[in-house]
């Protein structure tokens, strides 16, 4: 099967674009069904996690209408992971705003994308990637038998590609850069200027960790690569 037959889907979720490319030799109908399950899932996650929606579980927790322990298992899982990341990063990653309200948005996107990619696997697909806002979870190889080749965007010019990486089967890629600064890092180091590099890319088996590690590694600056690579299977590199 040639790449000309790759099936592609694009949608809008969590304020950014979601793309799914499928290389499996499947009918368009079954691919569309798989894509729909992804899209419905992401919409549900947004409904439950968005701080912009007053009816979301996160908003209701912040308003005191819902106790954290009564939240859905997904919310508990996400907040649990955020606490773990806060601990490991000495507070550089923090899902709690200075005013005490919670906002796990910095973790939810990668976590939801990895879950959504799992839905494609459940649908019987083996050769695909799912991308959300620059972060990618791959599965299998391309139909050509090659690894998925991911271009890394120039942090100073998003219309250019500065490098590329061939991703091992089933691995993920996430990039953090200056565009993200302040978005979900309220730690003590977040205001420090980072003279060494402008973006950090992390690859590893799970998008939820690659995404979080890239965010933290970027915020850490000079010690970021070392911090990320404490975790087995996760590799970081930077662009100046």
């Amino acid at each position: 099967m040639s790449t000309e037959t790759r099936l592609k889907f694009v949608g809008k979720s969590m304020g950014t674009a979601v793309s799914v490319h499928i290389d499996d030799d499947v009918s368009r109908v079954s691919a569309e069904r798989a894509w729909e399950s992804v899209y419905v899932f992401l919409r549900d996650i947004e409904d439950r996690f968005s701080t912009f929606l007053p009816t979301s579980e996160i908003s209701r927790i912040n308003n005191g209408e819902l106790h954290m322990l009564d939240a859905s298992p997904d919310v508990v899982e996400v907040l649990d992971a955020c606490t773990w990341l806060e601990h490991l990063s000495n507070g550089v990653f923090n899902a709690r705003r200075p005013d005490g309200s919670i906002d796990p948005a910095g973790f939810v996107k990668g976590w939801a994308a990895e879950r959504a990619a799992g839905l494609l696997l459940q649908a019987g697909l083996k050769s695909y990637y799912l991308r959300i806002g620059g972060d990618i979870q791959t599965h299998g190889l391309q139909s050509t038998g090659e690894k998925w080749r991911v271009g890394i965007v120039d942090p100073h010019d998003s219309s250019r590609i500065r490098s590329s990486v061939d991703i091992p089967e089933n691995w993920a890629v996430a990039t953090s850069g200056t565009a993200e600064r302040g978005q979900h890092i309220w730690g003590k180091d977040s205001l420090a200027v980072n003279p060494q590099f402008s973006s950090m890319t992390v690859i590893g088996p799970h998008l939820m960790w690659a995404d979080a590690f890239a965010t933290i590694g970027f915020a850490l600056g000079g010690t970021g690569i070392e911090w990320v690579e404490k975790f087995p299977d996760y590799t970081a590199f930077t662009l100046s």
Partner: protein
Amino acid sequence: MSQKPTLGRQIFPAVALTVVGVGFISLLDNPGGNGGVALEGAFGATTVPMNADTTTVLPEVAVDPSVVVPQTTLAPSPLVTVAPVVTPAPVDVTTTPSTQQATSATTCDGVAITGPVASFRWGNIQLRATFSQKNVLCKVKVLTYPTDHQKSIYINQNALPIYNQEAIAAGGANISVVSGATESWRAYTADLQAILDSHPAG
């Protein structure tokens, strides 16, 4: 798709990786010898220019991409042995694996590209890639490399991304998908990924 690997196809990556590995070790072993070691053997000839007194032991580069080889001892050995490790070459720039064998006979008379300095765990690396007239990568030279961890080797095919901006721009790198810092939906519409999403062959 699942072709039976020929002997050459099995051996070539091993040789290529090994030569790259030898180059890295000798680089790390001779921090003062700036630019003296070219990894020309990686995709072409099998000779690796090294100082006569440079002694080298090959690292065992495992197939597992996550393996880090932190402490490679540079024990004396007069011979450069070729370990029969079947593993992809760390600098996998050629778009089709089947052309790799053919490129060993290709002359490197095409464009040469110097990549930007990339930061890794043990310092900065900068590569220079030379292509044939048909834009097939045939030579990679390390221009900058870490010199402060001489006994640490980090050969990891995943840790060495390809820096060939011009080749990518020329369409030679066969990019499937683009990673960058989070963009908004509005930014996406002008993004490279949007082109890949809409282009039938991307």
